[in-house]
């Protein structure tokens, strides 16, 4: 029974926010590009490059906030590649994004070597300040940003003209086009937003929760964020809930000792849940209709 009490302990629940932060950010980014009709499985690579850039920026200037800025620019620059190649030149989104993921992994290892002269872990750099909240858990500012972004993204998507256009473009681009909405411009911008948020998620991992970059430190969180987005049915609040659930699973895996269950299994729970959702067992997740298809002017 001790385990149950531990599972429901307030500190553990509060800690989930920390684990959920990168998932929330990347999932919100993913909502932008997918709602506009572009698949972005390069969230992982953008996050990884963001994590590295944050450490580099912080180390270079001694100011972790500059690191945060660097991380966003890093995510944005990868997003620029995806947007140019896939939106403007209409290449296959999965192939290009997979390329970006592989590139990110190689590039960060290479840059570790070139810029820091190390192989696995970067030197320590100044990290973001941690703020005590509700007296129990300490959070870095990116967690607050992530949580604050949820209602903001909701507002943009469902209350503003831009949100309406983004949602329309992902469902029926030619309908939007015939009404004078520039489909590829909106898609381009959505991909950039997505990359920027994924980069910020990377900063949380490297200089928010720690103070160094470790190779492959994102450990598939970009993909879990995609899962959270799907689980949350492409809705910011839903994605937030899903990210919290996944963050909670991660917190348990690290903080709670189970007698018989290995923590790796606990950690795999998000993946199981996602597979079950995708298979349509718990409510159906219906993606935007035009997702993954490049748009050519004048088509039906």
């Amino acid at each position: 029974m001790g385990t149950i009490r531990e599972l429901l302990a307030i500190p553990l629940l509060l800690t989930s926010f920390r684990f959920a932060t990168p998932l929330i950010l990347a999932a919100l980014g993913g909502i932008f590009n997918e709602r506009s009709g572009v698949i972005n499985i390069a969230l992982e690579g953008m996050m990884l490059f963001g994590a590295f850039a944050a450490v580099y920026g912080s180390g270079l200037t001694g100011n972790p906030w500059i690191g945060v800025l660097y991380s966003m620019i890093a995510g944005l620059s990868f997003a620029l590649i995806l947007a140019l190649v896939c939106v403007t030149f209409k290449a296959n989104q999965i192939v290009v994004a997979t390329g970006i993921n592989i590139f990110a992994s190689g590039l960060t290892i290479y840059l570790l070597q070139v810029l820091f002269g190390v192989a696995g872990t970067s030197p320590r750099v100044p990290r973001l300040p941690a703020v005590r909240f509700l007296g129990i858990t300490r959070y870095n500012p990116i967690t607050f940003i992530a949580v604050a972004l949820v209602p903001i993204v909701w507002f943009i998507l469902f209350k503003t003209p831009w949100g309406l256009r983004i949602r329309a473009i992902g469902e029926h681009p030619s309908a939007a086009d015939t009404l004078g909405v520039n489909v590829n411009k909106y898609r381009f911008i959505c991909v950039l937003i997505s990359g920027t948020l994924a980069g910020l998620a990377g900063a949380h991992l490297s200089i928010g929760e720690g103070s160094a970059f470790v190779r492959e430190m994102t450990q598939g969180r970009g993909f879990i964020a995609l899962a959270a987005m799907i689980f949350g049915k492409w809705h910011p609040v839903g994605a937030f809930g899903a990210a919290m659930l996944f963050g909670y699973a991660e917190a348990i895996a690290i903080r709670v000792d189970f007698a018989y269950i290995p923590s790796e299994l606990i950690r795999a729970i998000p993946y199981f849940i996602t597979i079950i959702i995708l298979a349509g067992f718990i409510g159906k997740a219906i993606p935007p209709k035009a997702i993954g298809k490049p748009y050519f002017k004048g088509e039906d």
Binding site: F155, K159, T160, P161, L164, R165, R167, A168, E171, H172, S174, A175, A176, D177, T178, L179, G180, V181, K289, K297, G298, E299, D300
Partner: protein, 512 residues
């Protein structure tokens, strides 16, 4: 310009070439302010292309457009919108998951600060809707409303942007007769308020009823630029379009029905929403006869056809084919039994539009010899087969390798007709076989249907065109609220009687 400002719109010398096809060849079109102008022509004549150029969706290779006497550049839809030109497309441009209001305001949203001003939007939609008699439910999602209302949403969408010139590309193809009447009332109320309408149709009767003047396109050229509707008969109109004489009437001998091929007994089928729309249907179709089903659309025809072809489960009742029980068999097994199907929704059910013509010509038979040789497809044969069908059925295309989505709407329909006719079916289920098809091709398809009948095919014909049902069928079953309310011999059919049966205002014992 000599005729100063006489015309609202002048399109002069418009030319547009797609790879392998000259869709518009030096086309002229002159539209007067405040008129209803019909644009007619064969399938593939270039009507849609011309209108897409006007709306800025395609760039023309040559030619000039004048609007209110000014030369204009139409490189983007936004330019057309700014000038006051709006278009209702052949395939609706509505976002299924958004509401009516959201679809209407998309791209020109009224704002309050950063947000969309939904109150203002709703009021404006309401105002337009009342002004022109366009009934819609502003809060409903597009996916939940009937086609007729979707079209009204498209019209409001255009008026919302202050359009003065409204283009309709085959607006009546998807409507029931009642909805068509309503649409024409809307046309007239638009005209009264000074709007100008260009409308494309294949139904000559409609041209006669509502239009003031006509432009006829043939083979991408404007043959007779402008004629007054009053001065031309339907027959002459058809001849202008096709370039030869057209029989608007079907000639047929009396049928020679043989044994029963299809027998449906007490069939019950539910639609997507779970409502039982086929509610105990029984009928039979014999070898060598055409059994027509007359009825207002939405009385269970769609679900009936889907249940017969294995696309939807029947909840209750039996279907027999040549004495064998085929109830709820899967679609492939049914197809393999030589049951042909011309589906009512060609883009969703009948074609894979981003496959080539060759491939679409064998869809459903691709696993059979000779198209498939154990592991491999026999593409030589498939392509030759396609070439033969293109010629025989007069499909206008640049070649068998071209993608079906590059075909004009009516030519897409011909691809399905050709495929299903060519497979020598013993039972042919034809739903709306001539939807969107030009007069010349209708004549051809009707002749072929009669020929198939005379060769011994059993044909189940479903059509929203009462005319078509009456002129082709040997027996007519009238469907109302999911039941066959009467079966009438074709030669004794009376339009008024069927009409009132279709709307449920007359009760007759099923005579079978």
């Amino acid at each position: 310009m000599s005729e100063e400002n006489q015309y609202l719109l002048e399109m002069r010398g418009i030319t547009k070439t797609f790879p392998g096809v000259k869709a518009n060849d030096n086309v002229n079109m002159l539209v007067e302010k405040g008129e209803i102008h019909a644009l007619v022509g064969e399938n593939g004549a270039g009507k849609t292309t011309l209108m897409k150029i006007l709306y800025g969706l395609y760039d023309s290779d040559a030619g000039e457009i004048y609007y209110e006497g000014q030369k204009v550049d139409m490189s983007q839809p936004q330019k057309a919108i700014d000038l006051g030109i709006g278009m209702v497309h052949q395939h609706f441009k509505l976002v299924d998951t958004l509401t009516v209001t959201e679809n209407i305001i998309l791209g020109s949203e009224p704002r309050r600060g950063l947000t969309i001003n939904y109150n203002e939007a709703r009021n404006k939609v309401k105002e337009i809707s009342e002004n022109y008699g366009l009934k819609v439910d502003p809060e409903a999602k597009i996916q939940d409303i009937p086609v007729g209302m979707q079209q009204r949403v498209e019209i409001i969408k255009i008026l919302f942007r202050g359009a003065d010139l409204l283009i309709f590309d085959e607006p009546t193809a998807v409507l029931t007769p009642q909805e068509i009447d309503e649409l024409f009332e809307i046309f007239n109320s638009l005209k009264e308020q000074g709007k100008t309408i260009i409308f494309i149709t294949h139904k000559l009767r409609e041209v006669k009823t509502v239009s003031d003047r006509i432009t006829v396109l043939r083979d991408g050229k404007s043959v007779d630029t402008v004629v007054n509707t009053e001065e031309i008969s339907e027959k002459d109109m058809a001849e202008l379009m096709v370039g030869r004489e057209v029989l608007l009437r079907v000639d047929k001998e009396k049928a020679n029905p043989g044994e029963e091929i299809l027998k449906v007994e007490d069939l019950h089928v539910r639609d997507n929403r779970g409502i039982t729309t086929v509610n105990g249907i029984s009928f039979s179709v014999k070898k060598g006869e055409i059994f027509g089903i007359a009825g207002v659309e939405g009385n269970g025809q769609t679900e009936l056809v889907e249940a017969l072809t294995g696309l939807r489960r029947a909840e209750q009742g039996r279907v027999y084919y040549k004495g064998e029980d085929i109830t709820n068999l899967d679609a492939r097994s049914i197809k393999d039994k030589h049951i042909g199907h011309i589906p009512e929704d060609r883009q969703r059910r009948g074609l894979v539009t981003d496959f080539s013509l060759s491939e679409n010509f064998i869809l459903g038979f691709q696993h059979q010899k000779p198209y498939s040789r154990s592991l491999f497809m026999n593409y030589n044969l498939i392509n030759n087969h396609a070439q033969d069908l293109i010629k025989e059925y007069d499909v206008r295309t640049s070649g068998y390798n071209s993608l079906v989505n590059k075909l004009s709407g009516g030519n897409q329909q011909k691809v399905i007709i050709a495929r299903e006719f060519d497979q020598q079916p013993e039972l042919l289920i034809a739903a709306q076989p001539t939807r969107g098809v030009d007069v010349g091709s209708i004549e051809f398809i009707h002749k072929q249907l009669i020929k198939k009948r005379d060769d011994g095919t059993a044909i189940l014909l479903i059509s929203a065109e009462l005319n078509e049902i009456m002129s082709l069928s040997d027996r007519i079953g009238v469907i109302f609220e999911g039941r066959i309310v009467a079966v009438i011999e074709g030669d004794r059919a009376d339009e008024r009687e069927i009409g009132s049966l279709m709307t449920g205002s007359e009760e007759v014992e099923v005579s079978e």
